[in-house]
Symmetry: C2
Subunit: 334 residues, 2 copies
């Protein structure tokens, strides 16, 4: 029956949640399953994801991305705004910031603002890395290599903790100070961390490598990569950023994109396509790999690459799960 | 001097303002000047406005637009989200909803959420209509015609009140009920309202006409329009909507777009270009007309059309002005 009464305050009220509230509920949720389901829906064509909105700034340099979309016939749609301003730390501010907005898919009314300050983007990005490793990496990695010393260099490794017993980490960075801080932080979480400024020390020891830098040129030579290595490249999310040597794509048997349309435009695959080291037909999509239920890796010596540019469906899934839990808590306290 | 301390709560805090707070400060501001300045900056190439983001829904039908951008070297950038779900009234909810977000252009940090529920979009749209009339319409209109009986059919006319002594309004609509409500509301605001379902009664009496419907076909025949008439067409903001007979563009000496790139893609001008009734070269931009400081209309018998699709710079300007006033009030109360 239709309600012909004027809207009540509850109908149109937008709930605002703080980072602290969001962090609390995140620990209570199996976000990995939610995001896997999102990738599957995405690759099955059930998700509407328009092209990423973008604002670029030069003084100081920074960029803001708007990722948005919805799963068809779902309750909500989500708009995520995430910014990276890399000189912010000089002002005592974090480089990354952002928020997520949840709207009713049947009325367009904003239901919730998640003032997550970029935290949920960090979490969903790290989870996508763990999902990629789960479906592509060697079953029991000998050591985890990481390029970068920032938030994702930490979180990508932390989110592998539940998947593998391996605690050996080789971290590459340019700054001694950052490497020192990285080692201190990760050691306190139970990892056995070596640090280096020599890429070869990473590639020689590790068969699960994560690149998590804002680099615009390859971090290591393609020939350095050992057979049987899996690489998750998640740092490059614009057409100008690049972490992998494009020649690595001629050696990789498995090339997986979080979103084929997006990776053709930005990230490692975009560069490999430009240099002709990969054919478009060889690119597989993460959601299809997940739903195929068979191991993507068919021989232990294969090299695999997961190119992650970040897809709105990850934001949609994490925002919905967090919002549902926040609502459930409010109700149970009421 | 750089502040090397960790961010304080104030640095990263996002202020949320309600519709009630926003409405209060709107009355205290000269928003028309702000929006005129925005159009001028836009036509001078000082505004970065990426293409409009769009989500379309079918069950029930609705659409959400993301308009965003910034004036170069300004303090803020703005992201506006506005939805129209035309079956909402059946649920006792308003058709339109939305919010605006204000971010620091130097750090990317969200400074304010204006939970305006679409109100600021209504205001900036009505103001753009008044600005168009000021620069294009006859100096002293004999009667104001309006197609449509919704919010913009009201607000567009209300915002002309300060410009002209004319209080005679002829309103066209399809539903007797809506026309009756329109007449009651507008009469209480001092307008002398006739209602009709015959477009010719509007075109015969009025030399300032506003079209404010969600129509997807022309509302009246081009030949019905009197010489010397100005028409502000603001209802069509998607590629499929249309209010004006494309043939009217062969009769109009003055064709003005709020944004040439946007009007080529959506709205009346897009349709006229498709049917070949206008040359791209003949389209002028509102900001250029404003900054030229001369009357656009050079003879009283000319027909003029303003095609308004809504430009992010209007949202940027209104959001900034409202936020500054909200902040000033908070400070003065503190």
């Amino acid at each position: 029956m239709l309600n012909k009464n004027p809207s009540t305050r509850t109908d149109t009220m937008t709930q605002t949640y703080t980072l602290e509230q969001i962090k609390t509920v995140c620990c209570q949720l199996d976000l990995s399953s939610e995001i896997e389901a999102g990738f599957v829906a995405y690759s099955a064509g059930q998700v509407k994801v328009p092209p990423v909105g973008e604002l670029c700034f030069t003084e100081p340099p920074g960029d803001t991305h708007i990722k948005y979309g919805y799963i068809k016939n779902d309750d909500y749609f989500v708009i995520k705004i995430a910014s990276g301003f890399y000189q912010n730390p000089q002002l005592g501010l974090p480089s990354n910031s952002g928020l997520m907005l949840i709207f009713c898919q049947k009325t367009g009314i904003p239901k919730a603002l998640l003032l997550d300050e970029g935290y949920l983007t960090d979490v969903r990005t790290a989870i996508a890395g763990a999902i990629s490793a789960r479906y592509l990496a060697p079953e029991n990695p000998s050591a985890i290599g990481v390029f970068g010393t920032g938030i994702q260099a930490r979180m990508q490794v932390q989110y592998l903790k539940d998947l593998y017993p391996c605690r050996k980490v080789v971290a590459w960075g340019r700054s001694k100070e950052s490497l020192h801080a990285y080692k201190a932080d990760m050691s306190s979480m139970g990892f056995d961390v070596q640090t280096t400024n020599d890429p070869e020390r990473v590639t020689a020891q590790c068969d699960l490598i994560i690149t998590a830098t804002p680099s615009s040129q390859p971090l290591f030579d393609a020939q350095l990569v050992r057979e049987g290595t899996h690489i998750t490249a998640m740092g490059a999310d614009t057409p100008t950023k690049q972490e992998l040597d494009a020649k690595l794509f001629t050696r990789a048997e498995l090339v997986v994109a979080d979103s084929i349309p997006q990776c053709i435009e930005r990230g490692e695959i975009a560069r490999a396509l430009q240099t002709g080291t990969i054919d478009k037909d060889r690119i597989q999509e993460l959601g299809s790999i997940i739903s195929s239920q068979t191991s993507a890796r068919t021989a232990p010596e294969q090299i695999s690459i997961a190119d992650l540019t970040g897809v709105a469906v990850q934001d949609i899934q994490i925002a919905k799960a967090v919002f549902a839990q926040l609502q459930a808590q409010t109700t149970s306290y009421a």
